[in-house]
């Protein structure tokens, strides 16, 4: 198994596959007079495409567009502001994933709140937050639960544990997002011309290959479920081009070692037990019906939004163009703030903060100067 895992990032194999992708892309360009355009909708793909150099190496051959795949980036400003305001309360411990801590709110960030003396902690797993709640029974421990379908079942496991252990000082603030509604929204807007999706490997572990059939049936859009190492990604890009060249509009599971047709039934059942669909607001896209999940009414005692409601004003507008970036309308270099007023040290928007943001990926790996 170790040998196979190593092979996924083998440089010689990657270079050979890169050449094969270029050759096939040349066939496509000859046939259609333009580069094939594919969108990745997973922040880990965005970062992997930049880090491995694939995006840069294929610039003239394949148009790779980053879509709404970074959970922090797609969370609308008002939700971010609400989570930051929540963290300013007393007698509580706020726990969150690392990506959230530096995201700029309209006033300040969680990091600023922490440096001003509030108890804000970065944890690796939501279960760590349950352990903290056990250790500090006189404090309210609130986990800021953001993420797509990969993360949502992990959030639910923490809720289940808190419930089973009878821990009453633990709650979660849900701001989760689902892949299907945003893909539908993108396709229905018609704003970006696409020839296929590089589908998110780890989200697919949970939801399964069959869940993407609507792309084929309703939008005539092919997709390939991809892994995250260079060889895996190149293989999937190759297959996307091939599908279009053969006019074979289909979904391919190119991550079969991890992803099944039906997804993970335990994860799906856990989500179904605790959560229900809710309308969620996406950064500069607006509210999309049933595009997120939140706790069912019977679990109000675990719901931080019910237990600690906050009111926030409409956020102020900035020149940040994250909203256009996550929709694939512009690349980071087209934003006047990129690498000038907005850098990883002084980020203006979440796309520059998150380890999976498109701006952070371009800043770190794709700048010319």
């Amino acid at each position: 198994m170790q040998e196979i895992l190593k092979e996924t990032s083998n440089p010689q194999l990657s270079l050979k596959l890169l050449e094969q992708v270029k050759l096939l892309a040349a066939d496509y360009i000859k046939k259609y007079g333009r580069r094939p355009a594919f969108m990745e909708v997973c922040g880990s793909h965005t970062m992997a495409l930049a880090r491995t150099g694939i995006k840069k190496a294929l610039l003239e051959h394949v148009r790779l567009i980053s879509g709404p795949g970074c959970p922090v980036c797609v969370t609308d400003q008002k939700s971010i502001d609400a989570m930051i305001q929540l963290s300013e309360g007393d007698n509580q411990i706020i726990c969150t994933f690392g990506d959230m801590i530096r995201v700029p709110g309209s006033k300040h960030s969680l990091m600023k709140v922490k440096t001003e003396g509030k108890d804000v902690r970065v944890v690796y797993s939501p279960l760590d937050a349950v352990e903290i709640a056990k250790k500090y029974p006189d404090k309210e421990v609130i986990f800021l639960g953001i993420g797509f379908e990969t993360t949502i079942p992990v959030l639910v496991v923490a809720l289940k544990m808190a419930e089973e252990l009878g821990i009453r000082n633990f709650s979660m603030w849900f701001s989760t997002k689902l892949v299907e509604p945003i893909l539908r929204s993108l396709l229905e807007s018609g704003e970006v011309e696409l020839d296929g999706f590089l589908l998110p490997g780890h989200v697919s572990v949970v939801i399964g290959k069959d869940s993407y059939q609507y792309l084929v049936n309703e939008y005539k859009m092919p997709g390939v479920i991809a892994g995250f190492e260079s060889v895996e990604i190149l293989s999937s890009i190759y297959k996307l081009i091939k599908l279009q060249l053969d006019n074979d509009i289909n979904i391919i599971n190119d991550y079969r070692s991890m992803v099944t047709d039906q997804g993970n039934p335990v994860a799906l059942a856990l989500m179904d037990k605790y959560l229900e669909p809710v309308d969620e607001a996406w950064r500069e896209i607006g509210v999309i019906k049933n595009s997120g999940l939140d706790l069912k009414k019977e679990y109000d005692y675990l719901n931080a939004k019910v237990r600690f409601p906050v009111e926030v004003r409409e956020p102020r507008k900035t020149k940040c163009r994250c909203g256009e970036i996550i929709r694939g309308l512009i690349s980071p270099e087209e934003c006047s703030l990129f690498a000038k007023a907005c850098t990883p040290l002084h980020p203006v928007g979440p796309c520059m903060v998150s380890g999976e943001g498109t701006c952070a990926a371009h800043y770190q790996y794709m700048r010319e100067d």
């Binding site: 198994m1 040998e3 196979i4 895992l5 092979e7 194999l13 050979k16 596959l17 050449e19 094969q20 270029k22 050759l23 997973c42 922040g43 880990s44 795949g69 970074c70 959970p71 922090v72 994933f97 990506d99 690796y124 797993s125 939501p126 279960l127 760590d128 953001i146 993420g147 797509f148 990969t150 993360t151 079942p153 992990v154 496991v157 998110p200 490997g201 780890h202 989200v203 572990v205 949970v206 995250f228 060889v231 895996e232 293989s235 190759y238 190119d254 079969r256 070692s257 991890m258 992803v259 993970n264 335990v266 994860a267 856990l270 998150s354 999976e356």
Partner: protein, 74 residues
């Protein structure tokens, strides 16, 4: 956020397992992969195993990549 890492299962309990992630021993939850056995590889995300790596398919993929790499000369 959706980062997942493959890890080898060294020991398992009812709800947790000790796994080897790139040489480090870590305890992860296995509630979502209840069939997992010692020596299996699992995909770990935020402290929970989400899938058991199917070695047969992994091998098929590897053979496919090698074949694809020599599909045609540039």
């Amino acid at each position: 956020m959706c980062v997942g890492v493959p890890a080898k299962v060294l020991e398992r309990d009812e709800y947790t397992a000790v796994v080897d992630v790139l040489g480090s021993k870590v305890t992860v939850g296995v509630i979502m992969v209840s069939d997992v056995k010692v020596n299996d590889y699992v995909l770990v995300h935020a402290g929970q195993a989400l899938a058991i790596v199917d070695e047969e398919f992994a091998l098929v993929s590897m053979e496919e990549w090698r074949k694809l790499a020599d599909a045609r000369d540039s």
